[in-house]
Symmetry: C2
Subunit: 289 residues, 2 copies
């Protein structure tokens, strides 16, 4: 078996196309959806992410404003900026790009964003709704993108065994809740670095999601034949053949494509979906105004 | 094997005894911990719960005030009461007793309570902290009571396979997050009504928690020999031998005690722990003032 490639770009394009009419309707009412992006410091990955998000805004006719702050910006100044954007009725979404310079309290800053403008879906108020089984609010973008892509691909979720590798606040934990919630109805296992015999648990999975940041962790013999595998890992590995000196690798070993029925690769799988769901959240937030 | 009985009353008494010094220290500073309990209507179970909570307050020297509202109280009046209690600096904890009269929006009312006084731990803000892996805030009482009881009993959590039956916002979902979080480090599976072959998944569990409300659901052949089993079910089943016409049954068939190494029974297991953790939250909240 050679796995069908789960084409995140194609799915994201479909999601974006459904947003066009909603954005048009907003503009007819005089509302221009507006995303504010805060970037702190000079992290190259942060710059790439912000640039991709702003390109998506431009493509869709969503206004975006970038606020670039120096890496040693005072906490007061950052707080003041977020408060100003919270109060600005022409701003519908606010995101603080991760990673922040080391030492900055990323979780604490997230809490400053008004939950109704928290288009990253990272505010505890929005995450808590997932614990309540409510999936109608501002959802974290990568988990909701994964679920949208699984549905788009026609993967059976109800009653399926899903195994999520990794317990991060950004992917593993919220995705587990969303997969287990009514509507998705998957049977979910969360595994992590302290799990014993992780391979055998993964082999039970109809849907296997790797979100741990360990290049090539998931080997072919971890995967049940015919499983749907989603790779969320974004790892830079040294590569002397590339001028930049590194290449991108996921958490899933490429040989898994011989075993899985569908595989969402890195790059080109979850990444574009994350951006498409950010755009969706921004439009949803603007519709509340 | 006959399972050791996990004595929730004994564990709860230990938890309460550790609160005594903290309450004393608060009173020395002139702070009397104060829990406000709102009960709506005449539900007999609600009355029993409120009475048990007020008894615990009295036992520990925590002030409690009960607000009894008629079952057809206007939403405005209920909102106004919660707002008044939120603003009252002499009130440290507020809970709205469940179940509410049918048609009342329990989740919506929970969101009115100031998260810092949400001693039930049901506000999305407090639940969302669990998704972030933060277990230092106001934790939902039943899940935190279960974890405290497991630790008290010396059950191995790190690396253990835990299976949680039920995906409620009150027990199943938050408990799954807490068991999977750093510090507990269990490998967690959430199973529910849509799960296929639930018995075989349960048989993998070192720790099995039933929180679904289905009397006697968990049979002996669902349980691995030596597993730790926690029964959270509180079901009234008809019993003509009782004057009141019913008796209490858990979600776990009593025959499981022949198979498990430890069993938390109904009644006398999780129930007293829930109250002990409510008292803990009330004291913690008072300490923040």
């Amino acid at each position: 078996m050679v796995a069908e490639r789960l084409d995140g770009r194609a799915c994201a394009a479909e999601v974006e196309s459904t947003l066009a009419a909603r954005i048009m309707a907003l503009k007819t009412k005089g509302v221009e959806p507006h995303l504010a992006v805060i970037i702190v410091g000079e992290d190259p990955a942060s710059k790439v992410y912000v640039s991709a998000k702003q390109s998506a805004c431009e493509r869709l006719g969503i206004k975006s404003t970038k606020y670039s702050l120096v890496s040693d910006v005072g906490k007061e100044e950052l707080i003041k900026l977020v408060q100003t954007l919270n109060a600005d009725i022409d701003v519908h979404g606010i995101l603080i790009q991760s990673p922040l310079p080391s030492g900055m309290d990323e979780i604490g800053l997230t809490e400053l964003v008004d939950p109704s403008k928290d288009v990253d879906g990272f505010h505890p108020h929005n995450l808590g709704r997932l614990v309540q089984g409510r999936t109608d609010g501002l959802l974290p973008c990568t988990p909701s993108g994964i679920i949208r892509m699984l549905e788009w691909a026609g993967a059976k979720l109800a009653g399926a065994r899903a195994v999520v590798i990794g317990r991060s606040r950004v992917v593993g934990m919220p995705l587990s809740l969303m997969l287990a919630a009514r509507g998705c109805d998957a049977t979910v296992s969360i595994v992590h670095s302290k799990t014993e015999d992780i391979a055998s648990i993964c082999r039970d999975a109809d849907i296997l999601v790797a979100a741990v940041g360990s290049p090539g962790l998931v080997k072919s013999d971890w995967v049940k034949s015919g499983a749907v595998v989603i790779d969320v890992g974004v790892n830079r590995i040294p590569d002397s053949n590339k001028e930049r000196g590194w290449s991108l690798a996921g958490d899933v070993d490429p040989e898994v494509s011989e075993k899985a029925s569908m595989l969402s690769p890195v790059p080109g799988g979850v990444g574009p979906m994350t951006i498409a769901m950010l755009m969706t959240n921004t439009v949803s937030s603007a519709e509340q105004y």
